[in-house]
């Protein structure tokens, strides 16, 4: 690890000012940042410790749940308002990492964690995300874990956050020191600039998330499939929120993890269900719509099937399809 400077600002303005220096990085729980620093996957200069900022609250007011960026994963998962009104958020968090990591890690850091692509995390390997223009060894390499959606010829890395998939399904809004915008706009696909993962400017601080409390969000669930029972990132995951009117799907959100380069929402899959009854036929159609644009590589083609199976299983559990 290279040497760095350290500062612990007391308020948001100071934090943002310090973060303007080149190479500056915020540190929240440090559960990802420190690994990236040790692995040499990301350059760093000044480390700005934001844990002294008052951004840890979780409050419900006027039909909106506001989660501070520094709220710990474990606290958010256990919060009664979250569990009641946003079950998918709680479930996604409880399916993330381990209790120890969840006690350390903050939700702001979580949605900005970086990919687990083994090439990216290996300082001895080239990678477009790490060093633009050096090539992507995953394209023809070990890509079992890589994306089938949203990839490019420059990068196929999966966005690893479970929470982000859930926040996308409940129409969250991102709050930063300078603006607010839909969570759906936070992450970007790699295209030709895989080093660019979000729309945040350098030194822009996420202060929290706002999530409207709706009947749709209250009927939401998360299904995560992986190679061991727990303490692993998703091979594929699905977040679904479903509002029914009788037999008919009144509204639906379908978002996916493990399969895409960013937290992935599929309007096509949602359209295949909205206003229709929840049947084997419509669920199958939704799954097909989801993977219509999928691009597979040597080792990840199984995800095309697996993600449809996950969607099918989750919708049946959630909606009682017949």
């Amino acid at each position: 690890m290279r040497n760095f400077t350290y500062a612990a600002p007391r308020n948001v303005a100071e934090a943002v000012r310090l973060a303007g220096q080149p190479g500056a990085r915020f540190i929240a729980g440090g559960t990802d940042l420190l690994n990236l620093m040790r692995d040499g996957a990301q350059s760093h200069g000044a480390i700005i410790d934001i844990n002294g900022l008052a951004l840890g609250d979780i409050v419900q007011r006027n039909g909106v749940i506001r989660i501070g960026a520094l709220a710990r994963m474990s606290d958010v998962a256990a919060h009664p308002a979250v569990r009641r009104s946003l079950p998918v958020v709680s479930e996604a968090l409880l399916n993330s990492a381990s209790p120890q990591v969840r006690n350390m890690a903050a939700v702001g850091g979580n949605v900005l964690q970086r990919t687990r692509c083994g090439y990216f995390r290996d300082s001895g390997t080239t990678c477009n995300k790490k060093t633009p223009g050096t090539g992507c060894p995953a394209l023809e390499g070990e890509n079992r874990g890589h994306a089938i959606l949203g990839g490019s010829d420059h990068c196929l890395a999966v966005h690893p956050s479970d929470l982000a998939v859930a926040l996308l399904a409940v129409d969250a809004v991102v709050l930063t020191d300078r603006r607010r915008f839909p969570f759906a706009d936070l992450h970007v696909v790699p295209g030709t600039t895989p080093d660019q993962e979000t729309v945040l400017g350098h030194g822009e601080l996420i202060t929290g998330f706002e999530i409207p409390v709706t009947p749709l969000a209250a009927r939401s669930r998360y299904l995560k499939l992986r190679d061991r029972a727990t303490f692993e990132f998703a091979v594929v995951s699905v977040a679904a929120a479903l509002a029914m009117r009788g037999n008919t799907v009144r509204d639906v959100r379908l978002t996916f993890g493990g399969v895409a380069t960013k937290p992935w929402r599929s309007p096509e899959a949602e359209d295949a269900l909205r206003g229709k009854p929840l049947t084997t036929t419509t669920i199958t159609e939704a799954g097909r719509a989801l993977v219509r644009g999928a691009v597979t590589r040597d080792h990840n083609a199984f995800k095309v099937d697996l993600v449809q199976r996950a969607l099918d299983g989750l919708l049946r559990d959630l909606g009682g399809a017949r």
Binding site: T125, A229, F231, F233, L306
Partner: protein, 716 residues
């Protein structure tokens, strides 16, 4: 009686409170920190190393490359930094030395290495034309061709398993300090005596000039049995720079310089009569070898030792690839055992014979390869005990016959077997004038329970309470004893510990009966009973404490004994239940029962821990564990514990361990045999067999991940 009891670990408290000091915990005055720079190509040459930026980091004392590194040779291993050749990815290409760890690490990142790379070969599939048979790797018993011709049923199948890395939780660490030409090393080693020899040879100094200590080890599993080149380099650097030096490996570095289990391909051909008796067993395996060594570490021992079969052929082929040299890994027999026990399961379905019954019908009391009789063997009892505890008789043999909700339920089993090593070992036992007892021997406790078991052995031999006994291990100043590898620690060293303790007892009893001041004076020594810290007359009417005898004697009583033991073979049977969710290809192991013949059980708790550990690792091996190599670069893609998956608690069901617990009559270890590696050998096959029973689908390539299972389920 304390031997056999489930005594708590005597070192447990020190470990959980942090009082136990491991090699990496050693910090010496003036110590330098060494950090490794690992190469990024698998084959070719280093053409230049630029150390300018690294040397400019404050605190950096030296940067070693192949051009200026201390000259060293190793009999056992390829020694890096002696030339510019690269033989595997992740080879040591430079070492930074600084006054703090952080400085050494920062400097390591700044070393710039330029290579002339060549195209490597990483996996067996890419070098099939280069498969060959190294010397002495073929065993033929009887007439296998005739045996196959006489078979009424034949099963011929291919199986494969990936490379694995040992991943003990404690990374390798070494701290070297020179005093003139005397060297002290705190080393993460499974064998201090072996390490002492290696250091002495490398530096051409007498073995007695080297002291190696490893009082605590956070697991080894084989990757800490040899002294690796990095430790020799660290000691050489300490000598050259005239200061103590420390080197601790990062987790990722443990994926290239401390060995692994080789990728393994195998073909099993079983010929049998209709009743299931084997007529031929042909086992052809291929494992990856390195460019620098043709040593093999995965052996088809089960095929040669486990079942009655008159015609056996094992052929252990290799293929040389641009990968590091592999090594024994708990258990080195499991790769080949997976093939054998899966093939037997396949045969059982071909024949319509229950898998347990098929194994019973091929049971043998004699080693089929040598014709020698096993000293004791209760494997049939293991089948019975295990099957009863599991409820095997209720099994519907038809695959896919049991469903519970979405899940198919399957039951599978396998025999477990591993032979253990035994090497001559010595131990010292001394009773001090205050009656307390110290035992010292230069074997190790690598996390398995040696401290605890030897405390029990000494306490029982003397007849004193456990808390009166202190055991010290893993210091070459102690009497030489066995390497903790090949499941051999208890089997090798217990006899010497017991003999030394018994000799001390005899001497103290003699002190009592021969002294008129003792209440036991004049009694025949051989009739004295020793218990609870006292010496009793045969009718227990008179007694005197050890403490009193020793106080009167005024000086310690000590004995050092040496003992040899025979190698042995511990076997068992493991039964598992799995649930397979066909929607997602997801497998859960929901029940496990193992029954074992390990000779006498010295401590039911530590033995059970070995079984649970083996079973748990077996789950990981079956369902997830594998090292992923990039085929183009021969570089490990998952060198960390977040992507190299091992079973976690949530993957592990309730596990039941049953022991026959009958002493092996030839074992000098109070009837105990080595056991540590036995209870992992059969687990992957048992799980695969259970998956077949659940679904009717057979996967022959480890691990059984969702993608493979889905592929099988989709091709119904």
């Amino acid at each position: 009686m304390t031997v056999g009891q489930p005594v708590e670990r005597v070192d447990g408290r020190a470990k959980v409170t942090g009082a136990a000091r491991y090699a990496a915990d050693r910090t010496l005055p003036g110590m330098l920190y060494c950090h490794l720079v690992m190469g990024t190509i698998a084959r070719g040459r280093v053409t230049a190393v630029d150390t300018t930026a690294a040397r400019a980091v404050p605190g950096v004392v030296e940067v070693f490359t192949h051009e200026n590194a201390p000259r060293l040779t190793s009999e056992q291993h390829f020694m890096p930094l002696q030339g510019n050749q690269i033989h595997y990815n992740g080879q040591i290409v430079a070492i930074t030395v600084a006054t703090t760890l952080e400085q050494a690490q920062e400097a390591a990142e700044l070393v710039r290495v330029t290579y002339a790379p060549e195209t490597p070969k990483a996996v067996i599939a890419d070098a099939l034309a280069e498969v060959y048979l190294p010397a002495n790797q073929e065993v033929i018993v009887g007439d296998p061709a005739a045996g196959l011709a006489a078979a009424e049923v034949t099963v011929k199948q291919n199986y494969s398993s990936p490379p694995h890395h040992h991943n003990p939780i404690e990374p390798h660490a070494t701290v070297a300090q020179w005093d003139g030409d005397r060297l002290t090393v705190h080393e993460t080693t499974q064998g201090v005596v072996n390490a002492q020899r290696t250091f002495a040879t490398a530096f051409a100094i007498p073995q007695t000039n080297v002291r190696v200590l490893a009082p605590y080890l956070g697991g080894g599993f084989g990757c800490k049995s040899p002294v690796w080149p990095h430790s020799l380099l660290n000691a050489a650097i300490a000598r050259q720079l005239g200061r103590p030096a420390k080197m601790v490996l990062a987790r990722s570095q443990m994926y290239s310089i401390v060995s692994h289990r080789a990728e393994f391909w195998q073909q099993l051909t079983l010929g049998a009569k209709r009743d299931g008796t084997l007529t031929a067993l042909v086992h052809v395996s291929t494992q990856q070898l390195s460019r620098t060594s043709e040593n093999m570490y995965s052996h088809s021992i089960s095929s040669r030792m486990l079942y009655a079969c008159p015609n056996i052929h094992t052929r252990q082929q290799g293929v040389r690839l641009d990968v590091p040299t592999s090594r024994f890994m708990r258990s080195p027999q499991m790769a080949s055992h997976f093939g054998l026990e899966t093939a037997l399961d396949e045969l059982s379905y071909e024949l319509g014979v229950d898998p347990v019954e098929l194994r019973r019908r091929n049971y043998t009391d004699v080693n089929p390869t040598t014709g020698e009789r096993f000293s004791s063997r209760f494997l049939l009892e293991c089948y019975n005990l295990g099957a009863d505890a599991f409820g095997w008789s209720r099994r519907n043999p038809k695959p896919g016959s049991t469903k519970d909700g979405h899940e198919f339920v399957g039951w599978g089993m396998a025999t477990e077997a591993h032979d253990h090593s035994a090497s001559p070992s010595s131990a010292m036992v001394r009773m001090a004038a205050d009656g307390t007892v110290l035992s010292q021997t230069a074997t190790q406790d690598i996390g398995t329970g040696t401290y605890t078991v030897f405390t029990q052995v000494v306490a029982e031999a003397l007849g004193v309470p456990l808390n009166q006994v202190k055991v010290e291990l893993a210091d070459t100043n102690f009497p030489a004893a066995a390497l903790s590898a090949g499941s051999g620690t208890i089997a090798s060293v217990t006899g010497a510990v017991n003999a030394a303790a018994s000799a001390v007892r005899t001497a103290v009893v003699q002190l009592a009966v021969s002294n008129p001041a003792s209440p036991l004076h004049g009694l025949p020594a051989e009739q004295i009973i020793t218990q609870h810290g006292y010496l009793f007359s045969p009718d227990r009417s008179r007694r005197e404490s050890y403490r009193a005898v020793m106080a009167r004697h005024g000086s310690p009583v000590q004995n050092t004994s040496t003992m040899t033991n025979a190698r042995g073979y511990s076997t068992g049977a493991v039964f598992v239940e799995v649930r397979v969710d066909p929607r997602y290809g997801r497998v859960r192991v929901t029940r496990g029962v193992g029954a074992y013949d390990a000779g006498r059980v010295m401590n039911r708790k530590t033995a059970r821990s070995q079984m649970i550990g083996g079973f748990t690792w077996g789950i990981g091996n079956a369902l997830m564990e594998h090292t992923v190599l990039d085929r183009r670069t021969a570089r490990v893609v998952n060198p960390n514990l977040s992507t190299y998956l091992l079973a976690v608690n949530a993957d592990v069901p309730d596990i039941q361990a049953i022991f026959v617990d009958k002493p092996d009559p030839v074992s000098t270890a109070l009837g105990a045999r080595g056991f540590g590696e036995t209870p992992i050998t059969g687990v992957p096959a048992a799980i695969g067999n259970a998956i077949f029973h659940a679904t009717g689908r057979r996967i022959r390539d480890l691990p059984f991940t969702q993608d493979k299972l889905l592929r099988e389920l989709l091709t119904q």
